[in-house]
């Protein structure tokens, strides 16, 4: 890992250079308080102060709706696709980079998912440091900093960014604008250390995750699941905005007149009533409490057993988005009581 500094007022030059070489995706303001990842047009539109986008960057690698192949009357399959341009996503916070790391594991478990990795292998990441708001839970989930996945990470200091270059791709990007990067001075290193302390002290939201997997299993029959499932609207918003929810549905979309059809996969949600319904009418998760509980168990423990840690990145999107005001921190606190 190499460290440099970049003067803040030279960031536009750097992003312009990256945009010339790659397809650059950046965070932009969408509504009054909402942000989204979009293709870069000009620097003035880039949001540097956002906390979280509505939809996590997973949409760029794992699209909400995706055609897998088309098939004609003679059952000739066409799975061709346009060669994707190499893109660089700028502005990912540590939680979202952790989200990508978890998706990488999910789409490799039992073999690499070709559609996912076709895009994933053509994406680079420039991370950006952030300060927490009232929903941020990354410190509790141990995802408040990251040492993998990204190619370049920018830590915001007063006048400069402390730039961490982790990969050869990151180095390629830096070399697109050679004059911009300097060796960090002693003062800048000191400032970087102070910033870490300040950020660390700003977290107001804490969730005790000690033995959480055990507790959720022990409290499998707790009345709390019933109680919350009465409040939950089962709209699936928490799933759609989750950076690590990777469930999908596969279906055929036929063109009856032409006689051909497309096979599509689209995001799915375990909160949906017929998610575990099988032919013959048996539903393996037929009741609302079962479905509500399943999301918590799978997020906090299920994935953990497979991959060694919970699959919640603490990004805060589910709590911010839930129309019924259900908050994971509160649910977990009640489980602990």
């Amino acid at each position: 890992m190499l460290f440099f500094t970049l003067k803040k007022d030279r960031l536009p030059e750097f992003l312009d250079a990256v945009d010339k070489r790659y397809k650059l995706i950046v965070p932009e303001q969408k509504g009054e308080k909402t942000y989204t990842f979009r293709q870069y047009t000009e620097f003035s539109k880039v949001s540097l102060e956002f906390i979280r986008t509505i939809i996590p960057p997973k949409k760029l690698i794992f699209p909400p709706v995706e055609k897998l192949f088309s098939v004609d009357k003679e059952c000739r399959i066409d799975a061709s696709h346009e060669d994707e341009q190499f893109s660089v996503i700028f502005g990912l916070h540590p939680c979202d980079l952790h989200g990508i790391e978890i998706l990488d594991k999910a789409f490799s478990y039992g073999g690499r998912d070709t559609s996912y990795w076709r895009r994933r292998d053509k994406v680079g990441f420039i991370g950006l440091s952030c300060l927490p708001d009232k929903y941020c839970l990354c410190k509790s989930m141990h995802t408040d900093f990251i040492e993998s996945v990204y190619d370049i990470f920018l830590y915001t200091l007063d006048d400069v960014y402390m730039v961490s270059v982790r990969t050869a791709l990151g180095d390629d990007m830096l070399r697109l604008s050679p004059g911009l990067f300097n060796k960090p001075t002693k003062e800048e290193i000191l400032e970087y250390k102070e910033r870490i302390q300040i950020r660390d002290s700003m977290f107001t939201r804490i969730m005790d995750t000690t033995n959480l997997a055990d507790l959720l299993t022990l409290e499998y029959k707790n009345d709390i699941w019933e109680e919350y499932s009465k409040r939950c609207l089962f709209c699936g918003s928490c799933v759609m905005v989750c950076p690590t929810c990777q469930c999908f549905d596969v279906y055929d979309s036929p063109d009856v007149i032409a006689g051909n059809s497309c096979r599509i996969r689209r995001w799915d949600a375990c909160m949906r009533k017929d998610y575990a319904l099988v032919t013959g009418g048996h539903n393996f998760r037929g009741t609302r409490p079962e479905r509500f509980r399943f999301r918590y168990l799978h997020k906090e423990t299920g994935f953990g057993e497979m991959h060694g840690k919970a699959s919640c990145t603490g990004c805060g999107r589910c709590s911010e988005t839930c129309p019924a005001g259900i908050d994971m921190v509160e649910v977990v606190r009640r489980i602990r009581e």
Partner: protein, 275 residues
């Protein structure tokens, strides 16, 4: 891993009863016919293009090369469309998926196969595996129960098995009222387990049947001293991919499609959501 199927041709369909048929498929590409190896208990994702895809267990034996047989109940959209497919019609097949029965562990010991209804479909593959190398197993017993004589799948084959001397095959029906020619047993498969007279302490048991069926069979097996680690159950869940990605078949922390569909009873009771 990819969600793109290969093309196969429907070679033959044979009705087994009013809503179960046996479908034989041959891969279009010769290379695929050679390459397609599977274990008893594995399944494929079967595509009817324009309708969708469904997981179906393979019912032919792994030593029978060049084709695969699927025993299918006419029940949902894909299977209904399959029933209206003409011979020589084309389908898509992905797989094989799942862990299959641990035949290497089962070899060298006694084997009891317990089937209920359509549960015979994956077990028939195991039976054919065993018959192909009968000397690799000690005592082998098969017990199979259905609602009535008319719903006994693979009727002739099963009757041939009953006549064999190197295995013990016993059949039963819940009720034989509609069929006076039924000379076999009437009652539960658990009665048949007793009738095999097989010592079950060190026997591997493969069980497959409808959800309600497991409860009685498992109770019976445990009462006869079977080890929970040697009872192999084949579980059913909704599946969209078969490759451990779509999430639909998750039970607790396991994917039925790659960690299963064959689970030991011991593994199963350690999964939340099962019982």
């Amino acid at each position: 891993m990819s969600l793109i199927p290969v093309i196969a041709r429907l070679e033959e369909k044979r009705a087994l009863d009013h809503n179960h048929s046996l479908f034989r498929f041959i891969f279009k590409e010769e290379q695929m016919r050679e390459k397609f190896h599977f274990q008893p208990g594995q399944f494929v994702m079967l595509s009817i293009f324009g309708v969708g895809e469904a997981p179906i267990s393979i019912t032919s034996g792994p030593d029978e090369k060049g084709f695969i047989d699927l025993c299918v109940r006419k029940a949902g959209r894909v299977t209904t469309a399959l029933y209206s497919l003409e011979e020589n019609g084309k389908v898509g097949i992905r797989g094989p998926f799942g862990n299959g029965y641990p035949v290497d562990k089962m070899r060298g010991g006694n084997l009891l196969i317990v089937a209920g209804g359509l549960g015979i479909a994956p077990l028939r593959s195991l039976i054919r595996y065993v018959l192909w190398r009968r000397e690799a197993f000690k005592e082998v017993a098969i017990v199979y129960g259905t609602k009535n004589p008319a719903s006994l799948l693979f009727n002739e084959e099963m009757r041939e098995l009953v006549l064999r001397r190197d295995i013990k095959c016993l059949l039963t029906v819940d009720s034989a009222q509609d069929n006076e020619s039924w000379k076999g047993h009437v009652g539960s498969v658990t009665d048949l387990i007793d009738m095999t007279g097989m010592p079950l302490m060190d026997t591997s048991v493969a069980v497959c049947g409808p959800p309600g069926f497991y409860k009685y069979v498992l109770e019976k097996l445990l009462s006869l001293g079977c080890s929970k680690g040697k009872i192999y159950m084949s579980l059913e869940r909704r599946m969209e991919c078969g490759e451990g990605k779509c999430g639909h078949c998750v039970i607790g922390h396991k994917y039925t499609c790659i960690d299963g569909p064959i689970f030991t009873y011991w593994d199963a009771i350690n999964l939340p959501e099962i019982f």
